[in-house]
Symmetry: C2
Subunit: 373 residues, 2 copies
Amino acid sequence: MLNPSCNVVSDKIQSFTQCSFWGSPKILPNLNRRRNVSFPCSKRPDPSVSVSTTTNNGLTQTENGSGSIGLADRLRLGSLTEDGLSYKENFIVRSYEVGINKTATVETIANLLQEVGCNHAQSVGFSTDGFATTPTMRKLHLIWVTARMHIEIYRYPAWSDVVEIETWCQAEGKIGTRRDFILKDYANGEVIGRATSKWVMMNMDTRRLERVTPQIGKEYLIYCPKELRLAFPEPNNNSLKKISKLEDPAQYSKQGLVPRRGDLDMNHHVNNVTYIGWTLESTPEELVDTHELRSITLDYRRECQRNDVVDSLTSVEPIKLNESILQNGANGSPTSTRDENDSVQFLHLLRLSADGSEINRGRTEWRRKPERQ
Amino acid sequence: MLNPSCNVVSDKIQSFTQCSFWGSPKILPNLNRRRNVSFPCSKRPDPSVSVSTTTNNGLTQTENGSGSIGLADRLRLGSLTEDGLSYKENFIVRSYEVGINKTATVETIANLLQEVGCNHAQSVGFSTDGFATTPTMRKLHLIWVTARMHIEIYRYPAWSDVVEIETWCQAEGKIGTRRDFILKDYANGEVIGRATSKWVMMNMDTRRLERVTPQIGKEYLIYCPKELRLAFPEPNNNSLKKISKLEDPAQYSKQGLVPRRGDLDMNHHVNNVTYIGWTLESTPEELVDTHELRSITLDYRRECQRNDVVDSLTSVEPIKLNESILQNGANGSPTSTRDENDSVQFLHLLRLSADGSEINRGRTEWRRKPERQ
């Protein structure tokens, strides 16, 4: 679990600091082992980090090579909402983004959440330096790193469906922040999914977690809703659940998973969607034929490099007796914990094959596939 | 090599028929082992294959579940060109589509080529049945399968760059057709890439290749340019080159590659981009650090299933003496065949680990990375 105290160095935090997902894919000089993040934090990028020039076609060209931002902004199907405190964008599900169920995969959904987060940051002027930290954060060498991601999908969009994603940020405790998402079918306004992610602030030099000071809060909270606004407002909802450690031996496993070159981002780190794929890889094949993912929660502990070898472990999560219909004689199989809605829950663990270090811990819920895809 | 004669059954063609890439991801009843294709072939989908209904929000909803096509069409940044004989669409490079070079990966480019091909087919009314075959083709159980894909990238777009892709089809010999692509930087019109794909017509029942009859030609050629129009008009250009078989032992190899669940399309077949990734996986690591892919050519022979295990093999392709500067003492390493522009060529082979069956044969060219990404 995340240690919330500040200025404490431990192995747990050391490894935890490798994780900073769902952010803007830019590199930071002298930060070789960390992924980088995007967050709406200040109106004006630090000129010492990014140099903008104007090309001969009049478009803004940034020093880091990501040009045409003005043009992309004009063409993109997204913008800040009227009050400026959240961002909405429409995405058309592409032909190659659908999977075995003929609908968008959870990897596609995760990619789009990253994209809408980046575009939100960009829309308030934070992304040209690649970090979108506040001026004070940059001065103090502080960045955001992801602690948890939770995604729920109620209906998966099909090829050519249009999905509207709204996203916003708010403070979360004394050391953290939260980015929430609501996904709608743009054709009829139906909420088809929700997601939330939790981030903490870390000092790049010491790798310690640090409190969000009033000055830093002031710099980024101007772009956040003033009243508490949660994608999951229900008490005790699944996004808040602690994920128990999966104990050996796991019921299902897939060992020896290795990153492919295409899994690496610009920092040569394994991109976040690969972890989702690895986590799901050890889910039993027969379940995937009949069920679809309803929700996934991942707690990030450490990040993988190009040459790491990873084991994916999965076990059925026992559910409370009063929530389930236990089926006689089926102990130990997924059906033993199916509830009234024929849903099933799993615990997951990704770990390094070499030394067993925990990479992430996950929890998934699955429901029976609808009759017609 | 592809056997161009018709009505001939051979092991080569049997295995070749597993490949039908770059198409519309729809399923065909009673065609369990083949990927499906998209091609602009007839104005009106066969009502026996697809039933369209109108939902209560006024949007077209197809029986196969891919709804909101009208809405997506309105929001999409693409349309037929003025003469109706090609299709252009703009794509904004997304944050998660860039790789280690901080630019779009070749997998991203390949995905976008598939998408623009599908959207072209859809724009002329062919995609709701998932095959976009002509009425005569459907009557005779004929489909298109991909024989070759060739992609050249002169400058990789960065995050938030806008790429305009134009695509069109033409007849190619007596049994085939061709889909070409031109990629431009939308900001300044610079051609940043070109691609071409070759397809042949196959009988689904007999798995034999068949000639394009005048009736079938008439049905789809109305949407094709009347004059020969080639993305690669140069004589003896690389898209036409025969790919020599890579002989054992290969200089570089990566063995035991396995499909992940996310690699599977709706037919439970490995999606086409995975083959590109596997092909590149055995390219030497040290070259990828200093060079970037200039072109890739893949000849498709057979398709992989979920439980296949694949070996990726790579060797440097010898180039003619008068095209190269041989470096003394570096025989057998990639540098031994670097030419004046510090480029290097490889031959590739993907094969099944179990029995050595050839999956595809490839050729790549690499150039030194530009100084500034």
